[in-house]
Symmetry: D3
Subunit: 241 residues, 6 copies
């Protein structure tokens, strides 16, 4: 029997990626990012204030919030606002998105402003957090470009680009960009966030079925690097439109 | 000075209405409804259980939840999940949506099922609750049609159609379907929910600037009736596609 | 069979209304209002501060909170303080009371003060929100009269009077001031808030059994107008004591 | 200088006590108890279920909840339902009321029922918890008498009577039944709960200004015993009406 | 049959007491106190700020928080942080600890500082609150001695010493310092907090099985006084090390 | 300038590790684990029930909760129970501990039991989560050994061992087992969980200062592997006592 992915993709093949800017009109940056059937709306909101711990320091802040619409998933999930709290998974993901994006921002150049990246999943099919990071970068860039265009900031606070992708071991084979069918049936799952210079920002790997060996890890990191190169190109193309 | 609306519409003119079915893929009904720049994603989810107070009674339930994405609005609003509770306005709106839709459902014919209508505002420009009711009806119809197609129910539990529109007095003139520019500057605001037989389901009028007279109320109700006729037609057209 | 109300009242007859000022001693205004067996304690508390969004604007604020004692009802309801949150119905009612009373207050004349109207239901028999609005107006007037007597304010911030009553269709007949027996068995229920000049402040109608027709709505509004005239007179009599 | 209490009472004199049964109509027991200007509404609600830890054991449960209306006090206190939790003082008091009343109930004779004593302070002038216990006993007795009258229980589950009073050292002198003026200015405050056989159920003494000596404690306990004799008599008189 | 305690102790005998200072390294005072198998870690933290109600008054504050590790008890208790609130018992105990310790502090001499006493039960075997008070006093003294040594305060804000012990009636006999085996099987339980001058700070007695008589109370208070003398000596010895 | 760590350790040197079993008496497993000055109390509690999603499936569950005593840290942190919720960091860590330990448990062999690992930090000096995982494994083993000794289970549900360590890049040099001084000043921080067969269970790396290169990652993983070998040996030694 030959190995095949449920989607018929090659092991090192991303799903079709689309990055649509200006999806909604009020936010300073608004991006609908799709990794295949996963669709996340990422908005960037600029506010002229910073959290208490930064007040008066001349630095800005970049933070993120993440949510899934109740029926973005196969079966309906509870609405976190109705349950009265965000779950552990949500907090973990939004902390990850915020840390990742801060890795490309010179907060001194941003000045005493907060940029909030809201990543809301309209439809989920695996990889929502990596799509969110990849799309949020573009929304962030749009918001910062707006500040520059209005001459509210002098220096560009963004250096480089940030993108993310998942990799994992599916039926014994390292594969790129897991969709839901693979994600729910894989042994190991790793989310990798990198910058456009090939540096790692975050690596979060979890052995779900069996512990993974060092050479498996090496293969996964290689797949991720190649995938992120393509995602960074997709970001550039979107921003060039 | 002649009266004119910010949008240039006639006093009795709706904004362009669009109702797009199948907007997302997992829900039993999924509708993106637009009243001009107001866009609400309405999904209908069917679950084979009912709330505790209905267990064993052979009846179903229809309920609704409402939310606004944090940056659906001009300035970013707090995420209710992060604040740890839904605000009074949210609860009020979702109770209204649920009551309105239950008014066209024979809960005995539905059987012991719950249909949850999630109405999430992607972009707000006034009238989100009336757009939500109008779109949720179509999502509900799609979900029920699916149950019928799969022969899970015998009798059609939906009778008639439900739609909603806002009316108000803007600069002294009764107008139909307020957008945000009008809504934030009007004296009286009324949300009207009706069925396709011309019966009133809900009427919620609030004098914001000055108390309104009986003849003003009469004019507003007339505008609403005419607007709802058009919305019901738009629902029919969407369902006929 | 002739129509008859459970209480034996005529269709356009209010329950006995009593408005007792000075019911408790600490509040600046303290009124026990009874609509038949419905009894609501309404207190007005004056504080020399305003919510954050009004600070420094030279304007005051009027707000309301509503609660039911756990055993004001036929069967005991959970205590909202113990459950850890106010329910949707409570929030809806207290927002209605606050909006209604603000409709007769010149907030500039009030100055940077907050008046909080606490409406606590000691005994419920239908119509608690309309009794609350009617009683809270008198408590508000007492509090404002105290400010005037102590010369803390110069201009009278209250213009006109505000009262409220419910109307509904019971066994096909439009009736005034529903009690619990009627309320739990009626087809349509409408709460109407008006000022003493005959202007509408709030109209909230809900079809519970069947959608109501335009001529039914007209009849209900007529009943409400007549009832409110009597309630405004009862407020005047109470304030004249 | 002679010692005098703000109210002019003798050191061993209670405030006027009144116990009014049937104050509201829905509860199985409903008592308005007044210790001078302190007024507490105590209702007893009977429900045919017990908490999870007692299910199937053939025993009943007696519990209490306590609340203060926001403007029962000199200055308005936050509404606990709005703050989203009951404070430590509230929890402490309602636990005390529940424990105290359970001390006179044979829970086997009560059967699998819960009696909830809701003690809501309409007006506070010191001693709300002792008034609540004293009044709740009468509401409990009314509820139990109703069960007996309807032959729902065979044996009387109540043995003896429970009443409570505060004592304290005011300006160096041990006094009975502190009112607010004394309470906020006293050195030592003790709440004593006893049964009609002269046994102690609860003693909670707190030195607020200075530590109290053993002989002071003896004097306070003596005052409490005499006061409780009178309160038990007032309960008997009320129940005999 | 002769009376005997489960532990074999005499009726007036404390469990072995140990007070270990410097148990952890970051806190200004850190004490592990053991009453037999009950072990409580008490830390004192000094912060240069006071609660809002004391700001600008030149006074300090002393407060306490109490917690039990989930498996400090025979069977695992829920973690209060996970449940999302502190229970009534916890609030009651931490309020007691705070009040008790404030009784030996001159808050003016402390200056605008807050000392927080965190009492966390590592292992429970009855008497955790009395051990906590006894240990927290030593942690407080260490924290204050640090302030004096660094010359941050001039006058010593601590006067006297505070210790606490439980007493109860076990199988009809008044006994000192109940352990868990006795506590869960006793008729009456009293926690007594005293200062080193023999004055009472707090007395909290509860009849669990039967109401206690005046002479029983007298016996219990006598036992407590003798026990507290020994505890104060143990505190002195610990502080002298 | 030569590189040196604040503690004087070599780059590949662990802090002194101690694993003390039986630290408290009630839990089925109770371990105080110290990585230098970091001290975490890990208890394992066995309960004969499983979460709802596993009921009736014949499988057990292993879960973890994590907390820091308020003054385990340099400056006092808020008590999460008092704030009313666990923070994002806490949830993230306890999810990590639970997932890690489940990786060595055959849940079918465990039967319908839940083992809860409570990891409470008594003193923090960096690496609390890795110490917690390393200690929790020993507590889990003790609890399971107890089940085996009492013949409650037949097959051993534990396979292999799990330990964890942090690695990071401090002043440009990859180092093992960061203490607080290093952690708060390092560029990259990675937590690595492995089993005793050299397989990776979790890898969580975060670039704090600058993105890390692939060869840096390789060096860090090598350090972690060597450190975990020593920790697994320390676990074996402790269990052999």
């Amino acid at each position: 029997m030959t190995f095949s992915r449920p989607s018929g993709r090659a092991a090192d093949q991303l799903r079709p990626v689309s990055i649509q800017r200006g999806f909604t009109r009020h936010a300073e940056g608004s991006v609908l990012v799709c990794f295949g059937e996963t669709r996340v709306l990422c908005t960037a909101s600029v506010e002229n204030r910073v959290p208490a711990f930064l007040r008066g320091k001349g630095e800005g802040w970049v933070t993120a919030e993440y949510g899934m619409l109740p029926r973005s998933t196969h079966t309906r999930s509870d609405r976190e606002a109705a349950r009265g709290k965000q779950g552990g998974r949500t907090l973990e993901i939004q902390r990850l998105i915020g840390r990742s994006l801060r890795a490309c921002v010179d907060r001194g150049a941003l000045g005493e402003r907060t940029i909030t990246l809201d990543c809301d999943v309209l439809q989920a099919d695996g990889g929502t957090r990596t799509a969110a990071i990849t799309g949020a970068y573009v929304a962030l860039a749009d918001a910062v470009n707006g500040l520059k265009a209005r001459r509210e900031i002098k220096r560009d606070p963004i250096f480089g680009a940030i993108a993310a992708v998942s990799v994992g071991i599916y039926k014994g084979v390292p594969v790129l960009d897991l969709d839901y069918a693979e994600d729910s049936d894989c042994d190991t799952d790793m989310n990798v966030v990198m910058n456009d210079g090939g540096g790692f920002i975050e690596v979060q790997g979890t052995a779900e079925g069996h512990a993974f060996r060092r050479e498996e890890m090496d293969a996964l990191l290689g797949l991720a690097q190649a995938g992120i190169d393509q995602l960074v190109q997709a970001q550039r193309d979107a921003l060039a439109d």
